[in-house]
Symmetry: C2
Subunit: 372 residues, 2 copies
């Protein structure tokens, strides 16, 4: 069963955890016709140019979009929303506690916690110290480790290397999205974003498990496509140290945002092919493809582009929306808890992220007990 | 010469680079009496309680402060300030180019760039993609890796582990401060902050060089002590997604900020003792102690607390001020370029950072050629 392994780190998931805030918002929250009306202005809607013209779409993206063509919410049904009195680090701490229980690891055993928060409690410092304090990680150092929605694989790679190099033994990695706080709830994009947090405990695994291959690239020329900026007279401002206005998820260069969207399948194919080649395995050997679900069509387009059958994917977009940096582990956790992963299965993890970064990992699943 | 080594990663600095923006501001910029007048309100001025009362100070802090007692600028003489038309990532890219030249490494050889920006170009995404693009790191992935002013040692630890585990071969780490943009130039704190950037290329080193020991801890209970927040009616706001006002370096809990300051020497002793014990070396074996220079008294107080003679320190506070996350490599680079480091020397690197984190590394210096 064990293939030749080129990049064996013998480290990986000891436990996973997810937390969704209790408040659920259904599509009934938005007024009738809401999303149709503003569709052409919607965030990273890539089937129209910035001038409103149709553009030539990759066939896999077009096919995935076609399935949702008559749905004003483009696949979204429900999404969880952080409570007004909660902090994003509260969601993170809840997910972290679940992951530590799942792994059977005590907070005092954690050497390092690495955190990415799409919407941190404060603009500085990051939420990493908040998670350290709230989870009582008495001996941990807290790193902010952030590649936006593409953070999980780099966190997993770094954690695995630190364990392989015997720098640390138990590492907690945490991701969250509380994006409802940076989109106006009157804006179309608000219907596709969901709030939630995920976490994993990383430790040493038996020989042959964990990361088998990886591939990551950043193309910073697209970095202005998706940003946070203050809005003044409806326009995003470049100088946040000077501008005075509400901070929103927006774009300083809509053409870059659309380019990243239009290249969704190109980036997916590149990253997944790179990780598979690095691992020395073929796409047919993959048991589960876990992917961000940025928009309703995203996972389906990616799946088609790399030739993974639908039954080897997991899709929770309709239920939770775009969980940003927390999408990947939310879906991996769901797959694990619903019995879809067995010991030795190969999992392909793919995420794009604002910046723009694409990153993929081929991972051999270790099932410590029962389902997991 | 080689001591027994417990945590050998055989990776470390191949090259260093610093960049200071050309504009220099002297003390003459501030009006007469400026700093005396507001001294008791100054940022992390820990010799007064929040009520203005004197507090019992650690003797090492008191002695270090006493040396500056008659200096209204408390040791600051000049500081560089980022130009109005520059972005912080421009400083970072300049420092990165110098480091790559120093290492003899091409941009196309860099596998990973990790960046911390105390004042990033945008609130999201981080500057890491900007550095990737500006330096034409064609095959690199770009990580935002941020522990505020305590970022250098964690970046070095992660980079060394990634190289040791054969995940990557050449890693660029970058730090910057453009803090002049988040302090009002009428505020006392503006006189101690300086702008600049640093970078290092990390790669494999011969056996016995690089990190010998390390120690890092975060105490997130102090995280509200130093923050960025919008100011409304002179008061920092907790909800940045809602508040509308200028974003400034401030405190949501001045008592926590003062506590971190008052515990400066306690944290330094704890972290340095931890790193020395991990390395299995004594403080007397250290050739150079490199420390953040948060305020004029900071390095002197830390040096006294761990019993390092002044001639084994490097202090550029008067010249460049508090460079935040860039302080440590700026001083290490300066020490290297002025012939103060020879092959095999043991260096102790210590930084505290907002959050609150303290981190120390014992490092064996590798001199590839000549001075370095």
């Amino acid at each position: 069963m064990r293939c030749p392994i080129r990049n064996q780190l013998n480290a990986g998931f000891l436990g996973l955890g997810s937390f969704l805030p209790p408040e659920v918002r259904t599509n009934a929250y938005w007024p009738n016709g809401f999303q149709q009306r503003d569709e052409r202005k919607a965030f990273i809607e890539i089937d129209r140019s910035t001038d409103g013209e149709s553009v030539a779409l990759d066939p896999d993206i077009a096919a995935a979009m076609a399935e949702l063509a008559n749905d004003p919410f483009r696949g979204a049904r429900t999404r969880h929303v952080i409570g007004d009195d909660a902090n994003p680090s509260d969601l993170e701490a809840e997910a972290a506690r679940v992951a530590m229980r799942d792994a059977g690891v005590l907070p005092s055993e954690i050497d390092l916690v690495m955190v990415v928060s799409l919407v941190p409690d404060q603009l500085h410092p990051s939420n990493a110290p908040a998670v350290q304090a709230k989870c009582e990680l008495t001996r941990a150092v807290a790193w902010n480790f952030d590649l936006g929605c593409a953070s999980v694989q780099p966190q997993l790679i770094a954690a695995s290397a630190l364990i392989n190099a015997k720098v640390y033994e138990k590492i907690l990695m945490v991701q969250s999205a509380a994006t409802s706080r940076v989109v106006d709830l009157t804006a179309p994009v608000s219907a596709v974003m969901g709030d939630g947090a995920t976490a994993a405990v990383i430790g040493a695994l038996p020989d042959g498990y964990g990361i088998l291959g990886h591939y990551s690239r950043t193309d910073g020329s697209l970095r202005d496509g998706v940003v946070y900026a203050q809005m003044v007279d409806g326009k995003p401002q470049r100088r946040w140290d000077r501008a005075i206005g509400p901070i929103r998820l927006t774009s300083l260069d809509p053409a870059s945002g659309k380019a990243a969207g239009a290249r969704a399948t190109e980036f997916c194919k590149e990253a997944c092919a790179g990780a598979l080649a690095d691992a020395g395995v073929s796409i047919d050997e993959i048991s589960l493809f876990v992917c961000n679900q940025s928009l309703g069509w995203f996972l389906e387009a990616c799946r088609r582009s790399i030739g993974v059958p639908r039954e080897k994917t997991i899709d929770t977009f309709a239920e939770v929306g775009n969980l940003g940096a927390a999408s990947l582990l939310f879906n991996l956790d769901r797959a694990s808890r619903t019995g879809r992963l067995k010991d030795g299965d190969l999992v392909l993890l793919y995420s794009p992220g604002a910046g723009f970064t694409r990153t993929a990992v081929v991972y051999r699943w270790w099932a410590r007990r029962g389902v997991r």
